[in-house]
């Protein structure tokens, strides 16, 4: 049996009210809020967090493939999936690939991942997606686009939703285009685009997949349908004969349209409330459409998300449109001049990216980073490299107004990791008044500086999101 074995969603902790955007541009507001990145996040970090959370919910299951889909990947040449695989501390023989330029990249990746199963070492394959699409300031799309990451793991053991059928069609339709030299999309949004560029291919792919599965639309428990706007998916549903309660809410009021992450975000949301026997349909558009049909298994009863969506509310709201823009512009204009040689990067990848440390077999002390002499018993003959836990508690912290930041103060924390090891890193997604000694935190991979033609990433921590 092939199918889904794990799922996770990463919703940014920051949000902006659409009324704030409307106020800035003197345009009508569709209401609600959209999730948006802090200045130190991008599509890679969103996807990496979702990928880690997905793995954490799978009890150390073996993974030998990782696919990353995004239209806003930070690197055009440098395999983003390889960096995410390293963050997830996956073995070198893990298959990695990026899928860019398509809003349905994640569903294409999902099909690819499912087809990879069986032929490899019997491991699971992880599909993750993240998008931080930046619409032209003042445009209609700016109101719609939200940022998010998501991950779906597929495999053949402990399947929670069995794959029944897939269908795909392509169509070089011009609805949203971003060329290599464009910062923002050129949108051809219209009634025509919604009908001919979205409803038609989606309807075709979905009906084809349902037909292959031998199912009628009425049998679908939840349809996770991406949408190019606030309501075109409802038009599509009507065409398909789906009732309102069969449609997965697209999270427009809380999150927004999250690009290539959207089908996985909605699929995860549908799985979060699924019961054994449910039929779940996921479909995504973008120069054609992909549709996949799954049947939920008994294993869903046992499955627990590592970080449920309910534990990811918008904790901090950008107080104004300008603040929201500033967060997005920061890394576009900031070169902090930090040059890191590829020698140092290669030498320290295990500690700085994989979060490895050392454990002393004499005294049992775990420590970070990888070390040659034990910090506790000072012997050096029994140290072995280990992966450290990615959660812990704040031992002490500082609220630093001096450190240069687009949004001071910078909270810096000394974190004692669960099971041992101590790390010093920024505490993010946390109001200064919330920071406390003893508070539980999760480690999260984020951008911290730029320079020498590179984005630099490292670990930070955020208020604990677990159950």
């Amino acid at each position: 049996m092939k199918g889904i074995v794990g799922h996770a969603v990463r919703l940014p902790a920051y949000s902006v009210a659409r009324d704030e955007i409307a106020r800035a541009w003197q345009i009508p507001s569709p209401g609600g809020q959209k999730r948006c990145i802090r200045f130190d996040e991008d599509s890679l970090t969103l996807a990496a967090t979702a990928a880690q959370d997905c793995l954490a919910g799978m009890d150390g299951a073996h993974v030998d493939g990782l696919l990353f889909a995004s239209t806003t990947a930070p690197h055009l040449e440098r395999l983003n999936a390889s960096l995410i695989a390293a963050v997830c501390d996956l073995p070198a023989a893990c298959a990695t690939m990026d899928l860019g330029s398509s809003l349905r990249g994640a569903t294409s990746a999902l099909q690819t991942a499912l087809s990879l199963l069986g032929g490899r070492q019997g491991g699971n394959v992880l599909v993750c997606a993240g998008d931080t699409r930046d619409a032209e300031p003042g445009s209609g799309e700016e109101m719609l686009f939200g940022d998010a990451g998501a991950a779906i793991a597929v495999g053949e053991q402990n399947v929670i939703a069995e794959l029944i059928s897939v269908a795909t069609i392509y169509d070089d339709f011009l609805d949203a285009v971003r060329r290599d030299r464009d910062a923002f999309i050129t949108s051809f949004a219209s009634k025509f685009s919604a009908d001919r560029g979205y409803v038609v291919p989606m309807q075709t792919a979905i009906q084809s997949a349902l037909k292959r599965a031998g199912l009628t639309a009425q049998r679908v428990s939840k349809a996770a349908l991406t949408s190019p706007d606030k309501r075109s998916h409802l038009q599509l549903a009507k065409k398909l004969g789906l009732a309102e309660d069969q449609i997965q809410d697209i999270l427009f009021n809380d999150v927004g349209l999250t690009g290539s992450a959207m089908p996985l975000v909605l699929l995860s949301a549908a799985l979060e409330s699924a019961q054994p026997g449910d039929i779940i349909l996921v479909a995504a558009h973008g120069n054609g459409a992909d549709a996949l049909v799954f049947r939920v298994t008994e294993n869903i009863r046992e499955y627990q998300m590592h970080v449920p969506t309910s534990k990811q509310p918008a904790r901090i709201q950008y107080s104004s449109y300008t603040q929201y823009r500033k967060a997005r512009e920061h890394f576009r204009h900031a070169d902090n001049g930090l040059e890191i040689s590829n020698i140092l990067y290669a030498k320290e990848e295990h500690q700085n990216v994989r979060l490895h440390g050392s454990e002393c077999s004499h005294c049992g002390t775990r420590q970070f980073p990888v070390t040659q002499v034990c910090v506790s018993c000072r012997r050096g003959d029994q140290l072995r490299e280990i992966a450290l836990a990615r959660s812990g508690t704040v031992f002490t912290f500082a609220q630093d107004e001096l450190y240069p930041s687009p949004f001071p103060p910078t909270l810096m924390a000394v974190v004692d990791l669960a099971g041992g090891g101590r790390i010093y890193c920024e505490l993010v997604d946390c109001a200064p008044s919330e920071a406390r000694i003893g508070m539980p935190v999760d480690l999260m991979f984020r951008k911290f500086k730029e320079g020498g033609g590179l984005y630099h990433y490292y670990w930070k921590c955020c208020p604990g999101r677990g159950l």
Partner: protein, 389 residues
């Protein structure tokens, strides 16, 4: 057993520039002023100096990292010069090395110069060099000390008001010192209401970035009477190095600085001090931030851990208390040009022991202690000087 250098080394000359924003003086000019000043104080010429130690953290333009900074300033040619850099403990460590060389019998007269020019940099504040791009990213000096202060205050229930008392005391002392960077008194309310730099530290809880230089002339104790009528001897010294990254060390409790305790133990043993509060008359300590002085009381053994707040609240460290701390005004008020600070402390202690400190004179000053702390408790240096009667 290590050989004690107590009673073998005398300080026969000291000098110090005005500390502050010395916009009209270069690093070299400050070195010349301090270096020749110390020679004049000792009644010698620069040519009499057989070897020199230069303490500087970031020598900056023209001098690079090397000893030539001092050679080119004083045209001190053809003799050994050693540069010492040990974080903010640079100045006292340069002094400690010079004293050890005299005690070893290698030289008869040597010079120590500490100098720093922090206010001609393009970026404000202390330039931090050589930090790890990942492991230490996000750190600043106030932020690193705030990690300790927050944990300490959380553990002992200390109030910010106690920290403010350090600023009030040291500003009051600095107001009596014509060479201090700041010579103005501040009130507790001013300190508490100032802009926050890194909580719990507001602006007045932090020492300033300062330019300055200081110098001392050391000679063999048995020759000192040729130069000065009073005899001021090095009674003991100690240096202790801990981790530069305490935030990665799970054994660190963040309640104080074990480096200070270890350095003090070395110095006390050499000086024959078993009860510092009775045997030390005054201290010049490293108050880079107000809380640092509180933990210094404890780490140096003047009170127990956790009792530093009471120590200042009872006025024991004030100019008229039983052990005045920082009669000069301290780093807080006198300023903190990194490499110069430790040598400036020696200047203050010698001035006090000679009874020449004017309005800030400590009564019956016979034994003085200098304490330098470098990095986030990474390095501490303690030097004890005494007047022989």
């Amino acid at each position: 057993m290590t050989r004690s250098l107590a009673h073998e080394v005398a300080v026969i000359g000291v000098s110090c520039t005005k500390f502050g924003e010395n916009f009209d003086q270069s690093l070299q000019e400050m070195m010349v002023e301090a270096g020749t000043g110390a020679c004049q104080d000792a009644g010698i010429s620069v040519d009499d100096v057989q070897a020199a130690w230069l303490g500087t953290f970031s020598p900056g333009f023209g001098g690079g990292k090397a000893t030539i900074t001092l050679s080119d300033a004083l045209k001190m040619r053809g003799r050994p010069i050693t540069r010492v850099e040990n974080y903010c403990a640079t100045g006292t460590d340069a002094f400690r090395n010079a004293a050890a060389a005299i005690a070893a019998g290698k030289y008869e007269i040597v010079m120590v110069v500490g100098a720093e020019k922090l206010r001609d940099r393009a970026v404000r504040g202390l330039q931090r060099e050589g930090i790890h791009p990942y492991l230490e990213s996000g750190s600043t000096a106030p932020g690193l000390f705030a990690l300790s202060a927050n944990r300490y205050m959380h553990t002992f229930g200390t109030d910010r008001r106690v920290l403010a008392k350090v600023a009030v005391k040291n500003h009051a002392n600095g107001a009596l010192n014509p060479k201090a960077h700041f010579q103005t008194k501040v009130t507790e309310e001013q300190v508490l209401n100032a802009q926050v730099i890194a909580y719990p530290f507001g602006l007045y809880d932090c020492c300033p970035t300062t330019d300055g230089a200081a110098a001392a002339i050391l000679c063999r104790a048995d020759l000192a009477s040729k130069f000065r009528k009073e005899l001021i001897l090095v009674r003991g010294s100690g240096l202790a190095v801990m981790s530069g990254k305490p935030f990665l060390d799970p054994t660190v409790d963040y309640l104080g600085f074990p480096s200070t305790t270890a350095a003090a133990q070395q110095a006390y043993q050499e000086a024959g001090i078993s009860d510092p509060i009775k045997q030390v008359d005054f201290c010049e300590v490293h108050d880079c931030f107000t809380w640092t002085e509180i933990t210094n009381y404890e780490d140096l053994g003047f009170c127990k851990k956790g009792e530093g707040a009471r120590f200042i609240e009872e006025g024991r460290s004030s100019l008229t208390g039983d052990v005045p701390f920082n009669p000069s005004g301290g780093l807080k008020s006198f300023g903190h040009p990194v490499g110069a600070t430790g040598v400036r402390m020696i200047y203050e202690i010698v001035t006090q022991l000679r009874g020449e400190a004017g309005a800030r004179q400590v009564k019956d000053a016979e034994v003085g202690l200098a304490h330098n702390l470098g990095g986030p408790g990474a390095v501490a240096c303690v030097v004890i000087l005494g007047r022989e009667s």
